[in-house]
């Protein structure tokens, strides 16, 4: 019985995570570089001009990829929060702690690229009838709430559990906000001309670039989050023997 759970507890060990990711990171870096290069070259050079949007469809490749990835942060933090609350696993909180600011960055970039795209497509930088951007704005606010709660509580353990709970509540809320904002808009504008749908009429030469970019952005998310979590491990475990040895080796 214990054997079945052993991997899970090992997973919770910061040292185990650090050693594993040392082995994974080169592969992740390589894959990320590959997908980013292919995605960027394709999006900038080979993506056909859209008959309506012209070259601005190149914006959408980045925007859609970043937007998709930023939707994964609250579920991620909610899962990590559940693990923190139920099993009191330190590693889960280290991931969650670094996910919040990264998620805020992602949400901000989604809003920025979305409104730059909108400035051409809608003729205005901000459009309340686009429910995706509006719900992204509220997700951004909630992420700032998680970050400021973390900053306000001094005790690390208390902060971890409080943020875990807020992430779970926030995750449910983000879903409710998303649906209610959608509802709100469909009623205001039944046949909205504004749609950020990835080019269903545009054929594969359009959406393959987007898919490549989505994979690239997820790989980037993983690399950045792992790097930040490893830093957190080094800081929190600074008294451990293996961290000391590591510091001396690196020097």
């Amino acid at each position: 019985m214990a054997g079945g759970w052993q991997w899970f507890h090992r997973l919770g060990s910061p040292k185990w995570f650090y050693e594993k990711t040392t082995r994974w990171l080169p592969w992740l870096w390589g894959a990320m570089a590959l997908f980013l290069t292919v995605g960027l070259v394709w999006a900038l050079l080979f993506l056909p001009e859209d008959y309506q949007q012209g070259h601005t469809s190149r914006i959408l490749v980045v925007h859609v990829a970043v937007a998709g990835a930023s939707l994964s942060f609250f579920p991620l933090m909610a899962v990590a929060g559940t693990v923190t609350l139920v099993w009191r696993m330190k590693l889960a909180d280290m991931v969650a702690r670094n996910a919040a600011p990264l998620g805020a960055w992602f949400s901000f970039l989604t809003l920025a690229t979305g409104s730059i795209w909108g400035s051409v497509s809608w003729g205005t930088w901000w459009e309340w009838t686009d429910s995706r951007l509006v719900s992204m704005l509220f997700q951004f606010f909630l992420l700032l709430g998680v970050i400021s709660l973390r900053a306000a509580i001094e005790n690390t353990e208390t902060a971890a559990r409080a943020c875990a709970l807020l992430s779970i509540v926030g995750c449910i809320n983000v879903v409710v906000i998303k649906y209610s904002v959608d509802w709100w808009n469909t009623l205001h504008q039944p046949s909205s001309p504004i749609s950020m749908e990835v080019g269903s009429p545009n054929g594969p030469e359009f959406w393959v670039a987007t898919v490549v970019m989505i994979v690239a952005v997820y790989l980037f998310l993983a690399v950045s989050l792992i790097l930040a979590t490893r830093n957190e491990i080094l800081q929190r475990e600074s008294g451990a023997q293996w961290v000391r040895e590591l510091a001396l080796e690196a020097g």
């Binding site: 609350l85 509220f138 997700q139 606010f141 909630l142 700032l144 709430g145 400021s148 709660l149 306000a152 509580i153 208390t158 559990r161 409080a162 709970l165 807020l166 779970i168 509540v169 926030g170 449910i172 809320n173 409710v176 906000i177 649906y179 209610s180 904002v181 509802w183 709100w184 009623l187």
Partner: protein, 227 residues
Amino acid sequence: MSQASAAAAFIATLRRDLLISLKRRNDILNPFMFFIIVVSLFPIGVSPDSAMLRQIAAGVIWIAVLLASMLSMDGLYRSDYEDGTLEQLLLSSMPLYLLVFAKNIAHWLVSGLPVILVSPLLAYMLALPAEGYLTLVASLLLGTPVVGMLGSIAVALTVGLGSRGLILAVITVPMSVPVLIFGTLAVQNALAGGLPLGYLALLGAMLALTICLAPVATAAALRISVN
């Protein structure tokens, strides 16, 4: 036996909180006055034109209610935390869910209900057409407890902290967006001549869901922050 004592604890908490707030009149008066002042600023800031006001009346009242409830929420667990009552509640053998729920109800009765009762008057001052009143009050009755209970989670998470006004706002404002949307949509629907039962039913569903989940989360939050 234990069921009876849980009910007794529920009623005792409710009574205690109501009595305390009745003694401290400011708790009732402050959100109430704040609500009236905020609403009366809108005609001055936006336009005194009643055609314009009619359109924004429902939204203005809903936003003012949200702000007022946020103002009153700040003190929800503070005095209990400072005088140690909260710790006693956490240590008691009664389910914390019920005690938290009782406190939420007491708080709503004291700070939410007066605001709702005065809202028709302010709606009149904002030239809300007659068809809207019933829906406005109904949506407020269903929606404000949701906002209060969601806010209660945020207050519980920040109960021991010194400077938390902004954190509270950043957490509770996005959370109350769905309530605001359906509350104002219901009124607009009524003004357009429709029967807004669908929106009120959605608000009711949110209320039911919040009653089930929010006090659980608040109880967990209190256990985390009071340690």
